[in-house]
């Protein structure tokens, strides 16, 4: 039955839309990207991008609402072909949460793009910029919504290729080099992932994630080696994408030289979706079929997470550019997220998943604040920013709020996730990890404190004569996410409960 015929017979429009929410997550930004590419005026393309991002958030929230009300995951068959032959979109509490996170960050930060893109990107390239942004958004949403292993690869490449092009649009020539290095490492990561999926396909004959979870177990009895090799390939490939230490080398330059809006968006979403893919494949697909202790992945992940939390934090301390400092801090925070995964208890995973949200919110605030500074002053080097806190009080105030959250001060979102991770570690009998968490927070005090010292305790120099708070279109998104940092630190009914439900889904399927 065609969509039109369905609309004619269905009781209401809303009813039809309600049935097709999963595919809308991908289709809406994809069509928006085409429309943007057809426009010539940058402000026109911005209007399309803003409309698409806002409606996408509406769709994502409706989907989350449906999922939380339903007993079973929502499934959607593309073209009406039933799985395992057709591609299935499968939404449960975990990916609905990720979808709301990605769409939410996109919707809240898009007003920030208008001024920064207007300043950083040439007028004739602006519509292409927004087209690429929507493509990237579409790819990320697709990765989160799909239940097909090869489909994940296709969407991963859609989002990555557009991200490489977006990063290359940075005004410094080093942005080109950063994009090239990201392209090489990202492609190696994606190819590793495809090799892993190929090995799984050879032994099981299916690509559907739910189907894979049931077929890997029997196949493991006859041919264990390809499955273990597939697990290794997939974990390493996605670890490249999520910038797990020491596979993070592409990240600092990419974040430092990309246009400000791109840094904000990618830092808050791209690595988070990659973490989701790793959680989904590791726990639901492999964890449901074989004993995960067959390969020492949890042990390796634990060591690398701890290394990330310390080494990347220490590297952040020695950075002069605030953007690069925040990028290294991202690597350290990703270490926190994978730490919860390595602990692999319900409390630990809840900590990981809630930290996906909390880190996205606070890192987007930080990158927007420093982006506003770059917008006014033209640099993010600490040596040039003495006294900036007096010239841009609101911007730097929000920077401090989100910075406190990175440190994990009680009352901010960062505290909630670290608390959860700490509980998870103690539950699992790994209490020394609590000291690791506190230790990495103490290093965060140093690097955030360095910025605070420069911004507030020094006399403003002559180069800051014109610096003042940015226009409302940049300030409001920042303030919204800054308020969310506090809100998620005080009221966890929404964030932590959904994260707990999602963690239960992951742990519940374990063999």
């Amino acid at each position: 039955m065609s969509v039109l015929a369905a609309a004619a017979t269905a009781p209401s429009f809303a009813f039809v839309i309600g049935d097709h929410l999963p595919i809308l997550q991908v289709i809406v930004p994809l069509l928006g990207a085409v429309l943007c590419a057809l426009t010539r005026r940058g402000s026109f393309a911005f209007a399309i991008a803003a409309l698409v991002s806002w409606s996408l958030l509406g769709v994502a929230i409706m989907l989350l609402w449906q999922v939380l009300g339903a007993a079973a995951p929502i499934t959607y068959y593309i073209g009406g072909w039933a799985p395992p032959w057709g591609i299935e979109y499968r939404v449960d509490a975990l990916n609905a949460f990720i979808l709301v996170l990605v769409a939410g960050v996109g919707a809240i930060t898009i007003p920030f793009a208008y001024r920064t893109v207007g300043k950083e990107i040439d007028e004739d390239k602006q519509s292409w910029f927004y087209a690429l942004f929507l493509l990237c958004l579409s790819g990320l949403m697709g990765m989160a919504v799909t239940g097909d292993a090869f489909n994940i690869f296709v969407f991963m490449e859609v989002s990555s290729l557009s991200a490489y092009a977006l990063i290359a649009m940075g005004s410094d020539r080093r942005a080109l080099l950063a994009a090239y290095q990201y392209l090489i490492m990202g492609t190696i990561g994606a190819t590793f992932y495809v090799i892993g999926i190929g090995l799984l396909y050879v032994v099981t004959g299916t690509l559907n994630l739910a189907d894979l979870a049931t077929r890997i177990g029997p196949a493991f009895g006859t041919a264990p080696q390809p499955i273990l090799a597939a697990l290794a390939f997939i974990v390493v490939g996605i670890s490249l994408k999520l910038a797990l230490f020491p596979l993070h080398l592409w990240l600092p330059n990419a974040y430092a030289f990309a246009p400000t809006f791109v840094t904000t968006f990618l830092a808050a979403t791209a690595t988070k979706v990659a973490v989701y893919i790793l959680l989904r494949l590791y726990f639901t697909v492999f964890g449901g079929a074989i004993s995960l202790s067959d390969l020492p992945i949890a042990e390796v992940l634990l060591m690398l997470s701890i290394a990330a939390m310390f080494i990347a934090s220490i590297l952040a301390v020695y950075e002069d550019s605030v953007e690069r400092m925040l990028a290294y801090s991202s690597v350290a925070q990703i270490g926190c997220i994978t730490l919860g995964m390595a602990i692999a208890t319900r409390a630990g995973l809840t900590g990981s998943i809630v930290h996906l949200l909390n880190h996205a919110v606070m890192k987007a605030t930080l990158f927007m604040a420093i982006g506003a500074v770059v917008y006014r002053v033209g640099t993010s080097c600490m040596s040039e920013l003495a006294g900036i806190g007096r010239k841009m009080p609101l911007t730097m105030g929000l920077f401090v709020v989100a910075g406190l959250s990175i440190i994990g001060v009680p009352g901010t979102a960062g505290f909630i996730s670290k608390w959860q991770l700490g509980i998870g570690a103690v539950d699992a009998g790994l209490w020394p990890l609590v000291f690791v968490l506190v230790g990495s927070s103490l290093i965060a005090v140093i690097y955030i404190g360095k910025v605070v010292e420069v911004a507030y305790f020094r006399e403003p120099g002559d180069n800051l004569a014109d610096a003042r708070d940015p226009p409302a279109s940049m300030l409001i998104p920042m303030a919204l996410l800054g308020a969310a940092t506090i809100y998620f630190g005080l009221d966890t009914t929404w964030s932590a409960q959904i994260a707990d439900t999602a963690a239960q889904i992951l742990i519940g399927g374990l063999k």
Binding site: F153, L176, L177, I184, G198
Partner: protein, 121 residues
Amino acid sequence: MQALQSLADNYNYFITIFLMVSGLYIVIARGNMIKKLIGLAMFQSSVYLLYLSPGKIVGGTAPVLDPAFTVYSNPLPHVLMLTAIVVGVATLALGLALTVRIYEAYGTVNEDQIFARDNKK
């Protein structure tokens, strides 16, 4: 003797692995950005073989229903690899385009020289 036999029986996989490893080696070992991209393309191409060779069944025909044939090759890997080829072409094109821009900005496509020129500034 047995090793030789398994080599002869599974030669397609050995070719795949050889391409895969040499492609990855070129990406890591070469400083020239064009050569890196060639290595990357080889690495990606090896995956096509990895998917396609198990999909072909010896003695099987193309998967078109006909009473005269009962053994068919699996069409799905071929379809998947069409998508992967498109992705590979797009990646290579973007990589080359970036290299052209890097050459315009730095006057070289050698990574060591580029790093040296950035540090001098």
